[in-house]
């Protein structure tokens, strides 16, 4: 045993050998290291301390630089650490510090060793132990060793804990001072309010100190405190400005700028000075300063947009900087400037940049445009037609890889914003008919969205035949099966729309020969209406429910409105198209065109009915089945007599109408939590036998989808993929009895129904789409961008808002990020105690103090904070939660929403006020809150208030 140990000692490789060895291994480094670790495993078990510690030292090295696992040596590290010799002890401590964490089992073993070393007379041993404790300290260690650290504080002329820490703020020793300030800087980050009373000391340091490191820390502290105490802000703003004027050190200058911009932004002159300095940063050659300058601007952007505007030329120039980080920063800055008035211009600038950028940055740009625009339910978008065309444009950018986001947004706005549908359908049509796009797999998901939109809102399509050809073009075999299935489903919808329009058209011709020729428009409106709202289509039969009756007149109005929108949208492309589209309903649905359509569909889908993908196969077969059913009746009328024809067609039209009704229900977005919010009403037995329902609904032809139906495709065909998340918005159109039942139900449980009409108010006065503004700018190239943004970035007040923003359907489940920050919940037990220490009660050493009332006040403070938070939260939730009450009419809804907004603003305003209030008031307020929520704790308050008030005013006034 002794022999081997001597042998090991003699022939052991030390760390230098190891390093040299590693350096010599060019290729098999890992092999060498694993060998070395084998060696170490052997050596570390040695009883000889030098051998053991050398092994541990090597292991620490390998672990830190080559990622070797050293957990097996934990116990050995503890052994080495307990050596009396400093040289070995150091190795042990290093290993422990590096490798221990809360999960290390032997961590409990080092408590005693740490205690011993903390009490050591050798200051270097003490520092080893302290360093170790600071890095790996956990709750157990902290609990067991705090007394030792306190003792240490006293040995270095610092007596008891916190109180003494505070006294050190007046220390003349720079090392101690910087350490203490560092401590407070950390503490302030967590809970600034507790340290307000120390402001005078910090102020003294701020004014007196010459040490930049220290000043930066103190500035950080003031940045936190100044937001809490306006009088303090007033006091520090002058010295900080003085620093900004005088200092040579850029780091200090930057910290001053940051402090002013983030916390002292009410002081105009200081902000101006800071912005001047930021400007200096921006024009500096040093990329670091440029970067920081941009960052500083993005701090100030929300409050003082003028600062950004003053430097906008630079910001935009930075977009083409060689440094990716600087580009990114200026992109962020631009995005933070986006508002309703300039979103179009900024997007145009950025899209132009994206065209020229490398793929990565290009997608970064697109991503940030997309995420900015969809923020808070497209808050910044007023002109959705423009946005639809922007989405279309993005797809055309060669590097575009944002398929998923664009897909989502296309579907999202189609469902949420009724008014955008015509424009969106047009955009989608342009995407679908372009065979080139099918070659780019990144865009396939967008195409699937486009196909879905075109199918779902086919009534807005100008030329369904062209759309059909696009959906069936041969290159669609490049698509994934799942996306192809969406295509097939859209084909189905388009086909039914065409057949339906054809039949209606025919009916009308046969019934009213002359009248309709005179008025084309109403007819096409009628055709569309019939698709759009099944209850209107079947208005010949008195099928509409009482509840729907009330909506009817408005619906008609709205359909007219829609038409004008559609035509308006066309108008910008070419005015002549408007008339053709209006007359399309009449002219194009001729017998030949329909026959042709059926032929195309059969030809293209025939092969797909043998597809190996079940989704495609099933859908293709559905379509083919439908064509088979209809074909003979519709398409072979020539040989039949007039009466036969009429009879056959009524039968065919019945089928078509049925299908059309099935598809015409509108799909609305439903929040994922919607179902959870519906409590089971009293007296509702979900498991009751519903057999008797059949007697009521016996004569219904459609399989009745129950009033809580989730799927909108009642005929049992495969559910569209893109719909799986959605639920039908309206009920299906059932027969008289059940509608009355439904109406009854709706009356009683109105709040669980989504609105049946979302945008009646907004659409009537909807003016022609597509701002000429944005069209003008289409051709601008990069050189003009600067000039362009000059006008556009200027804060206009609601520029050229010729039209109101269309209604965006909003759900209670949608999360809207609220700007107001919620104060974080903290463990305020500590800070309460800290405050007590800071606010007098000198004599009692706080560590040993377990004064009941003190603790209680600390605790109650925590609780009080929590409760104010809660009230704040609930206030914010109010608009969301109340929504369902008012969903029946959209006008009320929008009113309510704006009300919610108001409230939110009020909430913010209140926050601001709170900040402006002085501390005393604040406290009173919080007392007030507490009084409300925790009346029984009132007894503690007076003491608290009395204790807290005197300290700050002494300094500030």
């Amino acid at each position: 045993m002794a022999g081997t140990s001597i042998m090991e000692t003699l022939f052991q490789r030390d760390l230098d050998d190891l390093i040299k060895g590693i350096r010599q291994q060019q290729i098999k480094e890992s092999l060498f290291i694993s060998k070395a670790i084998e060696e170490i495993r052997r050596e570390i078990k040695s009883t000889d301390l030098p051998t053991k510690s050398a092994a541990l030292r090597k292991l620490s090295y390998l672990s830190s630089l080559h990622g070797a696992d050293m957990s097996f040596a934990a116990f050995h590290a503890v052994e080495v650490m307990s050596s009396p010799q400093f040289f070995y002890k150091k190795i042990g401590y290093h290993a422990v510090t590096q490798s221990f964490n809360d999960d290390t089992p032997v961590i409990l073993l080092i408590t005693n060793q740490l205690r011993k070393d903390l009490n050591s007379s050798n200051q270097f041993e003490v520092s080893l132990a302290l360093e170790c404790l600071s890095r790996i300290g956990n709750v157990d260690l902290a609990r067991d060793l705090t007394p030792e650290v306190f003792t240490l504080l006293s040995s270095n002329a610092v007596r008891v804990c916190f109180k003494r820490l505070v006294e050190n703020l007046e220390s003349s020793e720079p090392v101690i001072l910087s350490a203490v300030v560092g401590v407070f800087c950390e503490l302030c980050l967590k809970d600034p309010r507790s340290y307000l009373p120390l402001a005078p000391e910090f102020y003294k340091i701020l004014v007196d100190s010459k040490n930049n490191w220290l000043l930066i820390k103190v500035l950080k502290i003031f940045a936190k405190l100044a937001t809490l105490e306006p009088r303090l802000a007033k006091r520090v703003v002058e010295p900080i400005c003085e620093f900004m004027r005088r200092t040579e050190a850029k780091s200090l200058l930057f910290e001053c700028i940051r402090t002013v911009l983030s916390s002292l932004s009410e002081y105009e002159s200081a902000v101006k000075l800071a912005v001047v300095k930021v400007r200096e940063f921006l024009v500096d050659d040093d990329p670091n300063l440029k970067y920081l300058g941009l960052q500083a601007l993005s701090i100030i952007a929300p409050k003082h947009l003028w600062a950004v505007l003053e430097n906008k030329d630079f910001v935009i120039k930075s977009l083409s900087d060689g440094d990716y980080n600087i580009k990114l920063e200026s992109l962020r800055l631009l995005m933070s400037m986006v508002s309703e008035s300039n979103v179009a211009e900024i997007s145009r600038v950025l899209i132009n940049y994206a065209l020229k950028s490398d793929p990565e940055f290009c997608n970064q740009i697109l991503g940030s445009i997309l995420s900015t625009c969809c923020r808070n339910l497209y808050e910044v978008i007023v002109d959705f037609d423009w946005y639809a065309s922007l989405l279309g444009e993005m797809v055309r950018i060669p590097h575009c890889q944002k398929g998923e986001e664009i897909e989502h947004q296309i579907i999202d706005i189609a469902m949420r914003v009724k008014d955008v549908r015509p424009a969106l359908v047009h955009v989608c049509r342009n995407l679908l008919i372009d065979p080139a796009l099918l070659g780019n797999p990144f865009l396939h998901r967008i195409l699937s969205a486009a196909a879905w939109v075109s199918g779902e809102y086919v009534e807005f399509s100008r030329n369904p035949f062209e759309l059909m050809e696009a959906l069936l073009q041969p290159r669609t075999n490049l698509l994934l099966p799942s996306i192809r299935a969406v295509y097939v489903q859209s084909v189905f919808k388009v086909l039914i729309f065409c057949a339906h329009s054809y039949l209606l058209h025919k009916e009308n011709i046969s019934s009213v020969n002359t009248d309709n020729l005179a008025s084309e428009v109403p007819e096409s409106v009628f055709a569309r209406m019939s698709c759009e709202n099944s209850d209107l289509a079947t208005s010949e039969a008195p099928a509409s429910s009482e509840q729907h009756d009330s909506f009817n007149p408005r619906n008609i109005n709205q359909s007219f409105g829609d038409l004008s929108i559609e035509n308006g949208g066309d108008a910008t492309v070419s005015n002549s198209q408007a008339s053709t589209s209006a007359s399309l309903g009449r002219n194009s649905f001729t017998h030949e065109s329909i026959v042709n359509l059926f032929n195309i569909v059969e030809l293209a889908l025939g092969p797909l009915s043998r597809s190996h993908d079940v989704e495609i196969q099933e859908r293709a077969r559905n379509v083919l089945g439908f064509t088979d059913l209809i074909e003979q009746e519709i398409l072979n009328p020539v040989v039949q007599g007039e009466e036969n024809l009429a009879r056959a067609e009524t039968e065919a039209s019945r089928v078509v109408k049925l299908m059309c009704d099935a598809f015409s229900e509108e799909l609305g977005p439903v929040s994922t939590s919607a179902q959870d919010r519906v409590p089971v009403p009293d007296g509702l037995l979900l498991k009751e036998n519903l057999a008797d329902l059949e007697t009521i609904c016996g004569d219904i032809q459609l399989p009745l989808s129950s009033s809580f139906s989730l799927s909108s495709t009642p005929l049992g065909e495969a559910v569209d993929i893109s719909r799986t998340n959605l639920q039908s918005k309206d009920e299906t159109e059932p027969s008289h009895e059940s509608t009355s039942l439904l109406a009854e139900h709706r009356k009683r449980h109105g709040l669980y129904y989504l609105a049946s009409e979302k945008s009646e108010g907004a659409s009537n006065d909807y003016p022609p789409a597509n701002d000429p503004m944005s069209q003008d700018k289409l051709n601008d190239d990069a050189e003009d961008l600067l000039k362009l943004t000059e006008q556009s970035l200027a804060p206009k007040k609601k520029p050229n808002q010729a039209k109101p923003r269309p209604v965006v359907l909003k759900l209670d489940g949608d999360e809207i990020s609220v700007a107001a920050k919620k104060p974080e919940l903290k463990d305020d037990l500590l800070s309460g105690v800290v405050q007590d220490v800071l606010l007098g009660n000198d004599g009692v050493p706080s560590s040993s103090r377990s004064n009941r009332s003190e603790n209680l006040s600390g605790k109650s403070k925590g609780k009080e904070k929590l409760s104010t938070d809660l009230s704040l939260e609930t206030k914010e939730n109010v608009p969301g939660e109340k929504m369902p009450d008012h969903v029946n009419t959209s006008s009320r809804r929008s009113k309510h929403r704006s009300h919610g907004k108001e409230r939110r603003q009020k909430g913010q305003g209140k926050d601001g006020e709170e900040k402006e209030d002085n501390g005393q008031k604040e406290k009173r307020k919080s007392n007030h809150h507490r009084g409300k929520h925790k009346a029984h704790q009132r007894a503690d308050e007076p003491l608290n208030v009395v204790a807290q008030t005197p300290v700050i005013p002494d300094f500030l006034l």
Binding site: G67, F86, K90, F124, N212, S251, F254, E255, G322, D323
Partner: protein, 143 residues
Amino acid sequence: MGIRFILMVNKQGQTRLAQYYEWLTLEERRALEGEIVRKCLARTEQQCSFVEHRNYKIVYRRYASLFFLVGVDNDENELAILEFIHLLVETMDRHFGNVCELDIMFHLEKAHFMLEEMVMNGCIVETSKSNILSPIQLMEKMS
């Protein structure tokens, strides 16, 4: 906590010193180092010295063949960290005399010791070169 980790990496991307002030497992460390090194070493001299990565901000500086990378919290003063790096290099320079990569490799412990004097659990506590170096000199005298 200001500083989260300090890395020294050579041009080839090999780690020469790694000091973490928060617990990461070995795999996390490897992954983090790999990502950061790939990101920072690809950057040119003309580009700025700050890189955002995950929830860190990396402040880095190159001295000859060695990169000093410091991961900090987002609200840390970047320029101050650059000065800290410079101070660290100056300190090592004073101790080793024209410090090079090999000095750090073979005297890793001393480098760690200096860091421990300068940084306590992620906070810069000591910035005077002579204060930092005095314990090391004492130790060398002893042995």
